[in-house]
Amino acid sequence: MTCDKIEGLLTAYADGELSLEEKASVEQHLEACPDCASLLSFVRSADRTLAVFPEIEPRANLRRKLYAIPAQKKFRFSLDFLLKPSLQPVFAAATVFLIMFSFYMFSPDKNQINKAISRQFHRGYSQFEKLSAKAGSITDSLGAYADNVLVSLKKINPLSKNGE
């Protein structure tokens, strides 16, 4: 058996969980390999030490805080919702907006930017007015077309004849 293979069996050997055959193989290797024999003694030493590792009492202050948790819970304000991944695009958009806004605020050409914005705004507004005027004329022509269609339908509808 190689040292790697023995290493995989060493804790089971220390715990007495190996079959007789495996145990004999491990013991045969340990007699010939001082490194593995030494590692086994450190496994046992570590086990002994961990088993008596000290436990400490929580401080009275911590206990008081723990007792208070059920009452706190009802009034606890949490900002955890800010960490939701669904809000990441909002934060990204806000960051871009803030960067652009800071460029605008601290730009030496602020007046020119204001004029450009104003020009764009008025251009957009006049385009909107044109579009609404066009939309009004389209609505009028559609209304006239609908009236014509109704008149035509009345003429060809046999029910309307009966009605007359």
């Binding site: 961990l50 590792f53 000290p54 929580p58």
Partner: protein, 167 residues
């Protein structure tokens, strides 16, 4: 009361896992808050201790993953954990105390899943089946993790002892 029954266990588990006293206090509080938030999800047919320790384990490992860049150092062993000697032989007890210091630091060298298995089995003395229930893993996987952890800690101890441990 849950605090009386579990505060010491959860605090020690947090301290052994995180290695920082202050952080362990914060983690213990967070775990109890999480417990109060999750109590409605507890299935009465399940073992409460195992369910609560699983909740604590999940919280500790999640926190470790989230902020592991902060966790390179553990408190000095002497600061809070120095205990009474366990042997009448002063030389033997000195060796034991030094071993505790080495292993306390050595816990940081273990991956978080192996460290948690070692804490539950070797330090808190739980059975393999109990550890498997808390970690929500097959017993074979748990045995394998604990085996690797024990060997790794034994190697840490061996290296430090053979290189002339200086605390």
């Amino acid at each position: 009361m849950l605090v009386d029954l579990f505060s010491k266990k959860i605090f020690n588990m947090s301290y052994q896992f995180a290695g920082s006293f202050q952080e362990a206090e914060d983690l213990t509080q967070d775990i109890f808050i999480k417990l109060h938030q999750s109590l409605s999800k507890y299935d009465l047919e399940k073992n409460f201790t195992a369910w609560f320790l699983t909740l604590a384990k999940n919280y500790l490992i999640d926190e470790y993953r989230r902020t592991k860049w902060q966790k390179k150092h553990r408190d000095d062993f002497d600061e809070h954990l120095q205990s009474a000697p366990i042997s009448d032989d002063p030389e033997h007890s000195l060796v034991e105390e030094e071993n505790k210091k080495i292993l306390w630091e050595g816990l940081n060298s273990l991956p978080n899943d192996i460290r948690m298995a070692i804490i539950l089995k070797e330090i808190q003395g739980k059975k393999y089946e109990e550890v498997a229930e808390i970690l929500d893993l097959p017993v074979g996987t748990v045995k394998s993790r604990i085996n690797r952890g024990r060997i790794q800690l034994a190697k840490v101890l061996k290296d430090r002892r053979e290189s002339g441990h200086d605390m």
